[in-house]
């Protein structure tokens, strides 16, 4: 590495060529004879000597030398690929690779292929996903469908991979790919109704596909409410579906949708121990009281408050004991604001934790 930004005309493939079948150490490659490898600084500071595998240390010794000289060449590019294969989490290697690609005005199509392979083998690595984004923004003529394909492939193996979902959101925004995402979330929800990422993505699409204007119009909210209630009916003890339902009604308030009360009351007949149902119903009642909504025939503010307190008591003492201090807090707060008959909540406070 005698000069800065050395540009080699010879193809990288020839440089990384291995002998028949086997791996050739860099120190044995004639086309690397001009480089003095830089060993890891093994000072007396470390308690024991560091012993790498030979291939690992050989590759990294040459990488260090190239980085020191800041060589920007095809052979250095190939070297970073070898280093990345050995340790794809090392972001300094990725950083150097990008610098080389930028200098060489590298082949982004080829790079996309390379990164795709590395992603499929290292699906939870921050570096690979960032690099994919970097390459995708430099690929002329890209329309983003390859990003949906790639993330789709990863999500088939691990449907909750956080990086994949993030990358998908980025691609959808960057390439304007909103139209079919709702259907995609429905597919994943159908595969695993407890996939929080899929439910979250659905909210993301609904809220953002109209640009600045919120996508949660009354028609959308009504339709999506039925969508959520359908899945809740099939699997009531599912945090994600209830959370999605709440998200739909956050701006307007639960009590603006009597359908919710009707559904919950029906479900109570068979799911009286479901904590999400009890909590939702309590919140519905609290919303009616907080916003002074008109009540049904035969109901008074006192009777509604009493019902809410009864639900919260049930949560604290039976249905969701692990969070009883939270439920008692909510009950005390509701009683202070709206009255109602307090059940024997002292019982909930002194009862010891069950195993």
């Amino acid at each position: 590495c005698q000069s800065q930004h050395l540009i080699e005309p010879v193809a990288a493939a020839a440089m990384s060529a291995t002998a028949a079948g086997g791996w050739v150490l860099y120190r044995d490659r004639p086309d690397w004879a001009d480089v003095t490898p830089l060993k890891q600084d093994e000072s007396e500071r470390t308690v024991l000597r560091i012993a790498y595998t030979e291939k690992f240390s050989d590759v990294h010794d040459y990488l260090r030398a190239c980085m020191r000289a800041d060589e920007r060449s095809q052979r250095a590019l190939a070297l970073t690929a070898d280093a990345i294969e050995l340790n794809p989490a090392n972001y300094t290697t990725w950083s150097y690779r990008r610098a080389i690609l930028a200098s060489l005005d590298g082949d982004m199509e080829a790079e996309m292929k390379l990164v795709r392979g590395i992603i499929l083998r290292n699906q939870k690595n921050y570096q690979v996903w960032y690099h994919r984004r970097w390459v995708a923004t430099r690929l002329s003529g890209a329309d983003g469908t390859s990003e949906l394909e790639l993330t789709g492939e990863v999500l088939t193996e691990d449907s909750k991979n956080y990086h994949a979902w993030e990358h998908r959101q980025w691609a959808i925004r960057h390439f304007n790919l909103w139209e079919r995402e709702l259907a995609y979330t429905e597919l994943l929800i159908g595969t695993d109704v407890r996939n929080n990422s899929a439910w979250h993505q659905r909210h993301f699409v609904l809220a953002n596909r109209n640009g600045e204007a919120s996508g949660l119009t009354p028609d959308v909210v009504a339709a999506e409410t039925e969508f959520a209630l359908n899945w809740i009916g099939q699997c009531p003890n599912n945090e994600s579906a209830w959370s999605f339902l709440r998200g739909l009604h956050l701006d307007t308030g639960l009590a603006d949708c009597p359908r919710l009360l009707q559904f919950c009351r029906e479900l109570l007949a068979t799911e009286a121990g479901c904590p999400h149902l009890l909590a939702f119903l309590a919140d519905y009642r609290a919303d009616q009281l907080d916003r002074r909504c008109p009540l049904a025939e035969g109901e008074t503010r006192e009777s509604v408050a009493t019902e809410a307190l009864r639900l919260l008591h049930l949560l604290a003492t039976k249905a969701d004991r692990i969070r009883r201090r939270y439920w008692l807090f909510v009950a005390g707060d509701l009683h202070a604001r709206h009255g109602g008959q307090m059940p024997e909540l002292q019982e909930g406070l002194v009862q010891p934790e069950l195993d």
Binding site: M67, A89, T92, Y126, N196, Q201, N238, I322, F329
Partner: protein, 335 residues
């Protein structure tokens, strides 16, 4: 989705064992894992040193290594720190370097001005921070930036050094309807990201701008029947979330909303009673990362007895370490 605690799992905290484990781990530098994790070595040092300090055993580590030299070797010309010599600088390892410097009483060896310059250079117009020169944005980096500046003693000058208002505004745009926070606006709520966002807002004194109860409930709902905490709904519990979730609840003044007793049982079950150390969940391999966060969680709950020092929830450093350096961040009372 949850695990069951094995009947024969440890039921008490084993502080002596963990100190042995941590000291043994960092002297085994000839194993594959040590080599492969070079890219995060500075953070590894912070996890190990902080855990040992909680256990009152940091002196044992100090005599085995030259932390000052390591910090020097990791400092980069741009003012930031890399994870190990020869690595590029990054906000993650810059924060870890500052934390390490405080633990080893090497704060004077840091060039606060240079670090502040590095941090400032990474802020974007929308208030977010990128991790390094390449531009990846993540609320983790917002936290790293603000925490590093605060720990350097620059907490009362944040507005001069960065656009503090924009920094907080960006974090708030990452809030989701469920009360949680993600990596970037629109990202799924995740316990680790929530900790970073709450931590950032805590440093900025803007926690009151949140719907605190909604966020605290989202956090409380991370607790499963096993007592462990998860990172997102319907995922498995993991000891490290004990810290992200607990510290967040502590910063919000709602620590009582989870069952401390049940959580401690989970953490205890994740210990290795022979070699020491704590794993992500019972039966798995232990590492310094999970050892620190398991102990830190136990300390926050004040259920570690005398064997654990008090810990600060925002910075995950022993309280006496912050006191020693004159660093004070008032804990928000939650009102």
């Amino acid at each position: 989705t949850d695990i069951s605690l094995p009947a024969d799992a440890p039921k008490q905290l084993l502080p002596e064992k963990h100190a042995d484990f941590l000291l043994q781990y960092c002297s085994s530098q000839d194993n594959y894992e040590y080599v492969m994790t070079e890219y995060l070595r500075m953070s590894g040092l912070y996890w190990t040193a902080s855990a040992l300090d909680l256990l009152g055993r940091l002196p044992d580590l100090r005599q085995r290594m030259d932390a000052a030299a390591f910090l020097r070797d990791c400092a980069r010309p741009d003012g930031g720190y890399g994870p190990a010599p020869g690595h590029d600088s990054h906000l993650l390892y810059t924060l870890s370097a500052v934390q390490v410097a405080l633990l080893f009483d090497l704060r004077d060896s840091l060039d606060a001005g240079a670090i502040a310059g590095f941090v400032r250079g990474l802020q974007r117009p929308d208030g977010s921070f990128q991790g390094d020169r390449w531009g990846e944005v993540d609320t983790r980096f917002s936290f790293c930036a603000l925490a590093a500046l605060f720990l350097l003693g620059l907490g009362d000058r944040l507005d001069d050094l960065v656009d503090a208002r924009a920094a907080g505004d960006f974090v708030l745009t990452c809030a989701n309807w469920d009360g949680g926070f993600g990596t970037r606006p629109g990202s799924e709520s995740h316990s680790g990201q929530v900790y970073c966002c709450i931590g950032a807002l805590s440093i900025l004194g803007r926690l009151h701008e949140l719907d605190v109860d909604r966020t605290a409930l989202w956090l409380a709902e991370r607790q499963l029947a096993s007592g462990g905490l998860n990172g997102r709904p319907e995922k498995l519990p993991d000891v490290c979330y004990s810290w992200w979730v607990l510290a967040s609840l502590a910063m919000l003044g709602r620590l009582s909303w989870i069952s401390g007793e049940r959580l401690l049982r989970f953490v205890c079950a994740a210990q290795d009673p022979e070699a020491g150390g704590i794993a992500d969940r019972p039966g798995d391999l232990c590492d310094p990362f999970h050892t620190l966060f398991g102990l830190a969680g136990a300390s926050l709950l004040r259920l570690g007895g005398d064997s654990l020092k008090a810990i600060n929830p925002t910075f995950c450093l022993p309280v006496d370490c912050l006191d020693r350096h004159g660093l004070r961040l008032p804990l928000w009372t939650g009102d």
